[in-house]
């Protein structure tokens, strides 16, 4: 079992907010290699769920068990370990270093726990069409470009599960499909699980489990 969620409810939720949810207050088991799609209207707690699992916040009731360990018992060092080995993420708000170049933004992640050689950065950038931007400062890139940088960054480390929070919100369909292909390829080579959360159905994501939040 990779991830197990038990009766998870955000501490700040009203009881009415979890009615009809297939995740909040329920039990969810996630197996390695599963492709999970979470459809969530705004305000339903999609980003909260991802932040709970990633350890950015812990104001919830219930349990999140990652690789047989309760996240509530994790120390900062433990989170650092899982973030460099087990969990990867594409934030909705991207979270890049605006003052660093695109290449440095990617290299700083690659160096943390090198899974790919340096050349892969150029290859991925080429595939997603941002190769020419590698030496620009990330802060000067458009949202669409920044989103692709964030996607590439998430693929430069080893992981067993990748969480994508509205990963294609700033991309057109052609670019979104290219990115999806790259993510699927990378996950397949790691036998990793994908947890994709979006406002509506992304029809080019071949999910194996669909959950409404």
């Amino acid at each position: 079992m990779l991830l197990q969620i038990e009766k998870l409810i955000p501490a700040y939720f009203e009881p009415a907010q979890i009615i009809g949810s297939e995740i909040w207050g329920k039990r969810i088991d996630v197996l390695p290699g599963e492709l999970i799609k979470i459809v969530a209207p705004s305000g339903s707690g999609k980003t909260s769920l991802i932040h709970f699992i990633y350890g950015l916040r812990n104001d919830y009731n219930g349990k999140i068990i990652l690789k047989e360990q309760d996240l509530q018992l994790f120390k900062p060092e433990d989170f650092a370990t899982i973030r460099s080995k087990i969990l990867s993420i594409v934030f909705q708000d991207l979270r890049l270093f605006p003052a660093l170049t695109v290449f440095d933004n990617l290299e700083i992640k690659r160096q943390l726990n090198p899974f790919h050689p340096k050349e892969k950065i150029i290859e991925f950038a080429h595939r997603l069409g941002i190769e020419s931007k590698l030496q620009s400062r990330a802060g000067t890139c458009s949202y669409g470009e920044q989103q692709r940088i964030a996607i590439i960054r998430s693929l430069l480390q080893p992981f067993e599960m990748i969480m994508l929070d509205e990963p294609f919100s700033h991309l057109d369909n052609v670019n979104a499909k290219k990115a999806m292909e790259l993510i699927l390829e990378e996950c397949k080579s790691r036998n990793a699980c994908i947890l994709l959360a979006d406002l509506e159905r992304v029809d080019f994501f071949p999910y194996t489990k669909l959950l409404n939040l």
Binding site: L56, P76, E77, F79, A80, T81, R83, S84, R95, F97, A99, I108, K109, L112, N113, R153, Q157
Partner: protein, 355 residues
């Protein structure tokens, strides 16, 4: 500089085995003139019992008249006094400094200062000046006259003393002569010799003042100015410590500011999976060269000042050092280690707070 001045203050006293030797008398005022101002055995015991006095011994005076003459070579005769003092208080005790009843020659330990005084006035009286060696060879005739009789002895100077300003004869001789010639036993002393670790000890000076005992003014005058100087130097040292603490605090504020300024980047690094311990080590390491540079520059400046102080103000006095004391260098090393450890801990604390 602090250490140098401490050294200087310590070395300005004539010391033997780390002790000061001073003689005290009772202060003669118009009120107690004519009374018995000699020390009773109780007075001496009281002195011995003080924590700042290591030992005390009376200087027993002669109670008979003594006239010394040097024969034909030096046509000079004078009334003199002789005293007896416990041998352990005398800086130069030759093996021959003993006297038994019936012995015609009395060994004398002569004050170096008295010899100097003699050499000053000798030419005015047409007397030859004497070196210490010559003085030792002069046979002095000692005529002792008391109420019970008169005896003539030969006296010989066997040693010179820097410490005791007196003419010292063996105690056995003075006791015997006091009893035989003057009929006095257990003669009370008008002077007491003190052995103390520090003649300028404030408690000692206070005690002697309360008892109205008088001691060598030179030594206490120096003691007073030394106390003031010591106070100033100690004040400076405390001030220096405060400056160091202030500087350390300032540096830690600076570190906090640096971290606060790059808070967002650090937070993001932690978010993408960098370990807070690793990151704090990395940041702390960045500052290590800064500590070293600061402390080394400070050491060099201190060394320069020390050299200037020694060379220009102290004129290269040999008892002082131009090179910094090892204590200063080790303090610098301790400061470096201390700042590395405390700042690393602080960075770690701040980073874990960001998490």
């Amino acid at each position: 500089m602090f250490i140098n001045i401490q050294d200087l203050l310590k070395k300005s006293n004539i010391r033997k085995n780390g002790f000061d030797y001073i003689s005290v008398t009772k202060l003669i005022t118009n009120d107690n003139m004519g009374k018995d101002n000699r020390f009773t055995p109780e007075d001496i015991t009281a002195l011995q019992n003080q924590p700042f006095i290591d030992d005390a011994a009376p200087l027993i005076p002669n109670r008979f008249q003594v006239v010394a003459s040097a024969g034909e070579m030096i046509p000079f005769a004078s009334d003199i006094f002789i005293e007896a003092l416990d041998n352990k208080f005398i800086d130069t005790v030759p093996p021959g400094f003993t006297w038994n009843e019936g012995q015609a020659t009395v060994p004398i330990i002569f004050s170096s200062e008295f010899l100097e005084m003699y050499n000053v006035f000798a030419p005015s009286y047409g007397l030859p000046q004497l070196s210490a060696a010559t003085a030792s060879n002069v046979n002095i005739s000692l005529r002792c006259e008391g109420s019970l009789g008169e005896r003539v002895f030969t006296a010989q100077i066997v040693a010179f003393s820097d410490r005791v300003n007196s003419l010292l004869a063996p105690k056995s001789f003075v006791d015997w002569a006091n009893e035989t010639l003057a009929g006095e036993k257990n003669v009370k002393a008008s002077r007491v010799f003190l052995k103390t670790k520090d003649a300028n000890n404030a408690d000692l000076l206070q005690f002697l003042e309360n008892k109205a005992y008088r001691i060598n003014k030179d030594k206490t005058a120096f003691g007073r100015s030394r106390q003031i100087l010591q106070g100033i130097i100690t004040g400076l040292a405390v001030f220096g410590m405060l400056v160091i603490i202030l500087a350390l605090m300032l540096f830690s504020f600076y570190l906090q500011l640096v971290i606060a300024k790059s808070k967002q980047s650090l937070e993001l690094l932690l978010t993408i999976g960098y370990s807070p311990s690793w990151l704090s080590k990395k940041i702390a390491k960045q500052f290590i060269p800064v500590y070293f540079i600061v402390v080394i520059i400070a050491l060099l400046l201190t060394q320069l000042m020390q050299w200037g102080f020694h060379h220009f103000i102290m004129y290269d006095r040999p008892e002082l050092n131009t090179v910094l004391h090892w204590g200063v260098v080790s303090t610098a090393i301790i400061l470096i280690i201390l700042s590395i450890i405390t700042n690393y801990k602080m960075i770690k604390k701040l980073l874990f707070k960001l998490f």
